[in-house]
C-alpha cells in the first residue's frame, strides 16, 4: 500500500484520489484561497496517516466513516463524499443502505432518514448500478 520513500503528503494525495476521487479533489481546491495549509494537513493526517494504515481495509474504513457522519448528522457534504468513497472502495449500494438503516437504532430515525436521502442523491449522480 505504501511506496518506499513516499512522503506523507504524497501518500495522502494518492490515497485521496483513490478513495474520494473528484469529490476529495474539489475539497482540496476549495481550500486553496482560504486555508492552503489545512489542505496539506487533510492530505497528510487523515489520508497519509490514518487511511494508509494496515489493520482495517479501506472498505471497512468507509463503513465506519459513513456510520459516524450519519450518526452525528451535522456534516452532510462530507457524508455525501464518503458515500461515494464507499462505492469507490468496495461497499455495495445495499451495504451502504443497510449501514444507514442500522444507524436508526443508535442515532434515531431522522439521522437514518437524512443519511438515506443523501445516499439517494449520490447513487443517482453515479453511474447506474
Amino acid at each position: 500500500m505504501t511506496t518506499r520513500n513516499e512522503t506523507r503528503l504524497e501518500r495522502g494525495k494518492r490515497q485521496l484520489a483513490r478513495i474520494d476521487g473528484e469529490g476529495g479533489q474539489r475539497v482540496i481546491e476549495a481550500l486553496a484561497d482560504i486555508a492552503p495549509d489545512f489542505a496539506t494537513y487533510l492530505l497528510e493526517f487523515p489520508f497519509g496517516d490514518i487511511y494508509s494504515r494496515p489493520g482495517l481495509p479501506l472498505r471497512d474504513r468507509e463503513l465506519a466513516t459513513i456510520s459516524a457522519l450519519a450518526a452525528m448528522g451535522n456534516a452532510e457534504p462530507q457524508l455525501k463524499v464518503h458515500i461515494q468513497a464507499g462505492l469507490n472502495t468496495g461497499l455495495s449500494r445495499q451495504e451502504i443502505v443497510e449501514t444507514l438503516m442500522h444507524i436508526s437504532v443508535y442515532a434515531g430515525f431522522p439521522a437514518a432518514l437524512n443519511g438515506l436521502f443523501a445516499a439517494k442523491e449520490v447513487f443517482a449522480a453515479a453511474e447506474p448500478s
Copy 2:
C-alpha cells in the same frame, strides 16, 4: 439466520444473546422494573428486525455501531457493550482499535481517546487475547 415461525421477540432474544451476551441481558433485566415494554421494543426492533437483516454481516454491523457511538461520545455504557459485541461477532481487537483511531478524523481526538480507553477496559475484562 431466522427460524421459520419465530416471532420478532424470539428472534430478538436469540440475536441479543449471540451479539451482546451478558451485557445485553443485564440491560434487559435493568429495564424490568422501570420500563418493561421498552425491553420488549429493544429486543424486537434493534435485534429482532435490524440486526437480523441479511445484507450486512453482524461483524460489519458492530463496526458501524462502535463507530457511531464513539463519534457521538455520549453513550459510554452502550459503547462498552458493543465493543464486547464486536469481539463476539468477529472483530479482532486490532480492528476495533483501528476503528476508534479512525474516528479521530471525523469526531476529533477526544472522541477517539475516550473510545480507546473504553476498549482498554473491555479488553482487560475479557479473556486474554
Copy 3:
C-alpha cells in the same frame, strides 16, 4: 385508539396519516426506491408502536418531539414535519413557540432561533391561524 386485529403496519399507517399528514406520506414515498423496508420500519416502530401507546397523549408526544429535534439541531426537515404534526395533534402556535423559546435554556440561543425560524416557515405554509 387501537383497532382489534390491526397489524403494527396498519396501525402505523393510520397514525402517520393522522399525525404527520402529507409531510409523513412524502417521507414514505421518498424511501420507496432507496430503502422500502425502512419505510415499513418507520411505520411499524415509531408510529405503530410508540405513538400508539397510551400513557402520553399525541399532543404531548409532539411537544417532546419538537423539543428533542430543536435541541439536537441537526434534523431540520424532521423538525418542520413535527411542527406541523404538533398543530395537527392539538398544540397551538403559541405553545410551539413557547417550547422553542424554552429550548434556549438547554441547547442555546442558536438552537432556539433555528427552531423558531422553522416554525415561521411551517406556520406561513399552513392555513391562517
Copy 4:
C-alpha cells in the same frame, strides 16, 4: 404566577424552589465560590424569565426539558434534576417513562436507555409512588 414589583431574581428564586426544589438549590450553592454571577443569571433568565412565562404550563415545560436533555445525552446531572422537577410540577412517573421511551425514535436507543436509568435512580430516591 407573578407578584407585582417582584424582581426577576426574586421571581427566579421562587420558581427554582417550586420547580427544582433541593436539587436546584444545591446547584446555586455549588456556584457560589466559582461563578456567583452565573447563579444570578441562572435564577434570572431560565427561572425568572422563561419558566415564569404564561402560555405553557410548568408540567409541559418539564416535559420539554426532559425530552431535550435526554436527546442531547450529555448533561446527566441536569437530566436527573429535571426528572425530579417533572414529578414536582405534575408529570406522573408513567408520563416521564413514556417521554423517555419516545426519545428512542429521535435520538436512538442509547439515549432512551440512559434517560430511563436516570429516571430509575431519581424515582428510587423519591418518596414511594
Copy 5:
C-alpha cells in the same frame, strides 16, 4: 462599557449593533412576527448581560463563540454572523482561520472544513481585507 442607568435592553441593543452589525439586526427583525419576546431576551441576556461583562474582551468572546459554533456544527447561520462579528471586534482573518483549523483536533475535520467554508463566504461578502 456600560452607561449608568442604561437598561439591559438598551445595553443589549447597543452591544448587538457593535458586535453583530447588520447580521444581528436582521435576526431581531425576523423574530418580530413569530416571537417578539424572544428578540427581547436575545438582546437582554446574551448581549445586555453576557457580552457586556468585563473580564473577557469582545474579541476573545467572539473567538470562543466561533469555536463553540464550529465544533457543534449545527448552527451555520449563527456561525456566519459570528465570523463577521469576530472581524468587527478585532479578530483578523488569519486568527479566525487558525481557530477553525484548530477545531479539527477537537471536533473533527468535517467541522473544521464546514467552518472554513463558512468563513470563505463571509470574507468574500465583506470589504476586501
Copy 6:
C-alpha cells in the same frame, strides 16, 4: 517556537509538556498498551502541527479548546486537561470562568454548568491562585 531540524514528534512532545503538563503525559502513557501509534499521532498532529503554528497564541488556542469542549459537553476528561492547559498558557481563572459562562448562550445552561464545575475541580487541585 520551532527549533531547526526538530521532527514533528519531537516538537509535539515539547509542546505537550509545555501546554498540558502532567495531564498530557498521563494520556500518552495510558495509550501505550492499547494504541501506541495513536499516542504518536496525538503528539504529531495536534501538538507538533496545530499547536505549533504561528498566527494564534497558545493562550488563544486554549480559549478555543475550552470553548469547543464545553459546548460539545461529551469529553469531560479532556475539558479538565485543557482547563489546566489554559492556566499553563496564560489564561487567568477569571478568563476561564468568563469563557464557560459565555458558553451558556451557545450551548445552553447545562453545558456551562458542567464546564464551571469541571473548572472548580481543576482550580481546587491546582496551586492556590
